[in-house]
Subunit: 360 residues, 2 copies
């Protein structure tokens, strides 16, 4: 009876809109709740919802098989409560911190969730029924959550093409502090430190090469979401920052004492871990990095990528390392080692001078 | 009389080989000094040197107009001394730390240097006469350095297409600690911290998204150069690590106290600084980021980059954000805002669903 099921999506941005598109494609009837008139119109226009209403009408439309709350993490809890009170059979949310909402809304029909794709702050432009295809979607049931409600949300998440994993709320929050929140705060801190040191002579920041640019890239993002996240996930962030400060202080001693063996062990451990970070690409032992010097001009990426496609070489990763000034850059691609020689030959035939290094 | 000048290049790897290629193109006669027989043969084969000799022959060939020492930073000083004793008119080096060698070799004919391109540890494969075209090349003269020796090296650096900047040795070392050495140590520390936290359940690192991958990418590099760098630049690295630990501890207090205004000011400052990092691209205010959902399959980058070239849209940066698992990814490109609409239209005509966000 899939074709008669009803969903309510609250907050029709990138995530809510994509959920709406995917559910409607699967035969659900979807009501969108959205405060922005422009977004309501856009959601109807792209077919993300069957009906779009304002938040004032939330309780009136709440009775449904499944409600998905896709609003910023700090404002989700009361909406979940209203939906439960209004008759939603099962409610889930998509916020990036799970502990507080799991504690605040302890209800058998509430299944806290967090899809690792997009952000609830982004707009509808990139919404797609396939947004979650292949993505990881964390479900963080509370002790009160019914098994049947959990199973229902899990089944819907799977039907969207995502891979559901079950992680308790506190564990989820510590992990996102480790892999997202604290790295972001660290990037901002490194960037400010460098900026302060170069104050009297900013052009010296031209010494900052690709590694520094990579590390601080996320610091260029808009800070508006961070007060919410830091407030919601304060405990985990403070605890992880304490560990980071302790670890860096320990490394400072290693450098100060010139303990070469300890330094190498630290860096080797990091290298091993980084190379084993889960990814879609084959393991690092099967991959090679190719560096292709180019002029920073139009068409170079196209020429390189087209050649790869022509030669049946899959590019797993590609980045452009610009020189700090001037017209020169390097295209860095990650390919399977088995294909590297063929690709190198093709590139040399086109006049490029690529270097190849196995990631072993 | 350019065509009669003689150079000695010690260490024929990526940097030494590229210097050799560029000098020979400009009419110099170049003698390479290299301990690896394989590299000597390769250097001759690609035309990076006219003659290749072993380190045992160094003093015998040292008499020349200019000697460039392109060996790892920890072994450069005695070679510089030997070259000066052997009759080289002017000597420069390319090591990534400048204070110790500047102190050790206080000679009027020695001009410490550091090109911000490639590494003296890399092999000849990527060597190119154009490696330094547009790159920044730091010269760090000591109080003993002759003006004429400095002017000579500066002129040669300019003839290689690089932009020479004059930075005192200690200032150089602090800056590279800030923008390279400490960021590298921090990336390794973050990676190890995450790895330790996920120990009992590594698949949870699937929660690590693009920002974490960016921040820890450099930790995947081979650690062999770091003991040398940390030993040579110990004072600056320890001092900058101390500041980083202090800054992170301060930020920890801001988060613990929930001081939203201070947190926003910190992140806004970082954002402003990151967007003003010197680069070849136009200023951030003129750029837009486009996110193009794709399946992780061959040909997608080629299709996107070819369209950009066809539409006269310059791609300033491109990265592939893979989903943490499954076949889906997002190509993220940086283009001028003025061109974003045209590019978006073309992409939509090909069936892509790109989103656009101005970096303002």
């Amino acid at each position: 009876m899939t074709d008669s099921r009803t969903a309510v999506v609250v907050g029709v941005g990138l995530i809510g809109g994509s959920v709406g598109l995917a559910l409607r494609r699967a035969g659900w009837t979807v009501t969108g709740v959205e405060k922005s008139a422009e977004r309501r119109a856009q959601a109807l226009a792209i077919g993300a919802v069957d009906v779009a209403v304002t938040p004032a009408e939330l309780v009136a439309v709440a009775e449904c098989d499944l409600a998905i709350v896709a609003v910023p993490v700090s404002v989700a809890a009361p909406i979940v409560t209203d939906l439960l009170a209004g008759g939603a059979a099962v409610v889930t949310d998509v916020g990036s911190v799970k502990g507080p909402i799991a504690a605040e809304v302890a209800d058998s029909r509430f299944v806290p969730g967090h899809p690792m794709a997009g952000s609830e702050q982004d707009g509808l432009d990139g919404a797609s029924a396939d947004l979650f295809s292949g993505a990881t979607w964390v479900l963080s049931p509370t002790p009160e959550t019914d098994d049947s409600a959990f199973a229902e949300v899990r089944q819907v998440v799977a039907s969207l093409g995502a891979h559901a994993i079950n992680v308790p709320p506190e564990r989820h929050d510590t992990l996102v502090a480790v892999v997202s929140h604290v790295p972001h705060l660290t990037a901002a801190t490194l960037m400010r430190l460098a900026d302060g040191r170069a104050e009297e002579h900013r052009s010296l920041l031209r010494l900052a090469a690709g590694g520094f640019r990579d590390m601080t890239r996320i610091a260029a993002g808009h800070p508006s979401i961070w007060p919410d996240i830091c407030a919601q996930n304060r405990t985990a962030i403070v605890e992880v920052l304490d560990q980071l400060v302790g670890d860096l202080s320990g490394l400072r001693e290693v450098v100060a004492e010139g303990d070469e063996a300890k330094l190498l062990a630290h860096l080797e451990g990091a290298r091993h871990a980084r190379r084993n970070l889960p990814t879609t690409a084959p393991g690092a032992e099967a991959m090679s990095e190719m560096r292709i010097p180019v002029l920073d001009r139009q068409g170079e990426i196209a020429a390189v990528a087209t050649l790869a496609a022509d030669l049946d070489v899959n590019i797993y990763d590609l980045e452009i390392a610009h020189s700090t000034e001037g017209p020169r850059g390097v295209i860095v691609v990650l390919v399977e080692t088995a294909m590297a020689e063929r690709f190198q030959g093709g590139l040399m035939a086109l006049g490029y001078r690529p270097s190849v290094r196995a990631l072993d």
